[in-house]
Symmetry: C2
């Protein structure tokens, strides 16, 4: 099967057709049109087998993680997903693998209503580059710059799912004999992280800056501080943890896996601050504006600190200073 | 050096800033704006070491081939290049390699006036995915569909450089002891194919369809025929060959490399029909419209055939039928 047949069989008609596509997949280029009041947001992310996901991961899972980790950058700018291109490098043609990959892709392209408008398939080590293009309409995009001294620092939903699910995917939890339901929930959280699009759409009017948490809260908050020329003071006592992360932390607390003998609470803190891969948003906004917004509509956001003039990220626990560790959430499966 | 430092050192400020960029490299997404009368053309191409270029090729060369082979798809639609994203997967951090890669990239980003607005760097087998975004303004883009029975079939500039330079890059010409100047010219043609942007801009008003010749003239012309629902009748006697390809064909004619004992003319024909990688355009247009255009402005285009109703590609040599071979220009360095 040559490249053209492969694309036709597995990647044609895999996605919805969205507004603004003048010409989709199948010619030299796709052709796209924006309305006058629309700005296009573009980002690209690459996943490499053995680095960003374990060797032997299911093709369905890989497709969904690749798409979602890329789409997360659109959420961080309060853009609405619209178009995707896929550069897929594969060691060999394997129709079972390709069918599963295209099924995973299809499900998420429909879930996020974006159209696959182009791509390239090549022979080589398994590598997936996804470029996402979204639209920001009638309001400015959220960037990392714009945080003001005195703003509150917020995170969307909860933290800890990224780090907890990574332990599962790395195979580190095998000795715990966790219930199957929890294992598969952790797998799910890794390959299908929940994205913060809905919250982003709600908060764009009040937020002064935003970033998606892929490298860890501390590392990503530093990007906001650098871009905005401000500092951040975070109260770790206010960090919101996911129920799954909480139960895993409890389960690990008194086992050999907890080599540093941390409490469940301390484990959660580490995961939330440095674990990364949560794909939730960290944003800044005047606290009163967020409070007003919460009176009008439920907003899944928790204040965790304040923007200060002194550069860098400071951590404290209800006023007691905490050292910032210089590690980041970079994950490596080799 | 982490990913952020690497991007800052080698890929920030590597390109011009172009019209329509609201926010460039460095945030979660780049932000782009089009004018109301503009359409965006998008394409992605991946090069894998050992498949699309030989192992050990210079980083400067790889960067330029990666960018140009991607840009060629914009030329085929008569789009003007504007934005580029780069997904670069590398086996290790090597500052000499990265400096050379970014220098090659810088030169061509400036040559084609396009801005690098985003990317991702990851660890793995050397793989380069380049996504190009261009603008089609005030006229429809050229697509593969639209060829009409009776139209002339044309190619831009000359053919044969792709196949000739591939022989050099594959190391097949070593026994010939060619002059250094010719060897380096052939290397140049492979890594820096000349693109047909200028001709594309001239002919967009008269052409009914177009494609860039990457897989070989016959294979690419078949794509036009399929998309347009027509057939093509090509007179191989009219194929325009490059001077370099001609001198190489003469040089090979009476050597062991010419295992099929073809004449120089037959070698050139094979290269032009099936060799691919020429990155010239094949387009269709009413012959009289092209003739009129040629009276107003020099147009580097040669008629090589006519569009016919009978599906598929037929070849003849001044009326004498020639069999179409079922091979394509796919190149493999493994």
């Amino acid at each position: 099967m040559n490249e053209f047949d492969l694309i036709k069989q597995y990647f044609r008609n895999v996605s919805p057709v969205v507004e603004g596509t003048t010409l989709g997949n199948g010619d030299d280029c796709a052709l796209l049109q924006l309305k006058p009041n629309q700005t296009m947001a573009v980002s690209v992310d690459t996943l490499v087998e053995g680095v960003h996901f374990p060797c032997g991961a299911s093709a369905n899972d890989i497709a969904q993680r690749a798409l979602r980790t890329a789409l997360s950058d659109l959420a961080a700018m309060a853009a609405t997903p619209r178009w995707v291109t896929l550069a897929l490098t594969l060691p060999q043609h394997n129709s079972d693998w390709l069918s599963a990959f295209s099924e995973g892709l299809r499900a998420d392209l429909h879930a996020f209503n974006c159209e696959l408008i182009g791509g390239d398939t090549t022979r080589g080590a398994l590598t997936i580059s996804v470029q996402v293009m979204g639209v920001v309409e009638n309001y400015p995009a959220l960037t990392r710059a714009g945080a003001k001294v005195g703003d509150g620092i917020f995170v969307t939903h909860t933290l800890g799912n990224g780090a907890a699910s990574l332990l599962q995917v790395l195979g580190k939890l095998q000795s715990l004999a966790l219930p199957n339901a929890l294992c598969s929930e952790l797998d799910d959280l890794f390959y299908r992280p929940e994205l913060a699009f809905y919250v982003a759409q709600q908060l764009h009017a009040v937020a002064t800056s935003a970033i998606d948490i892929s490298d860890g809260l501390v590392a990503d908050l530093k990007h906001i501080c650098t871009a905005s020329g401000v500092g951040a003071k975070v109260n770790v006592a206010q960090l919101p943890y996911s129920a799954t992360a909480k139960s895993l932390a409890k389960g690990i607390e008194n086992t050999a896996l907890n080599s540093e003998r941390l409490t469940a609470q301390q484990l959660l803190q580490q995961w939330a601050l440095y674990g990364g891969d949560d794909y939730q948003l960290c944003f800044t906004a005047p606290a009163h504006a967020v409070a007003e917004l919460k009176e009008q509509t439920p907003l899944a956001a928790t204040q965790i600190g304040v923007v200060v003039a002194e550069q860098g990220v400071q951590l404290h626990n209800n006023g007691q200073a905490l050292a910032v560790q210089h590690k980041n959430g970079y994950t490596h499966f080799e």
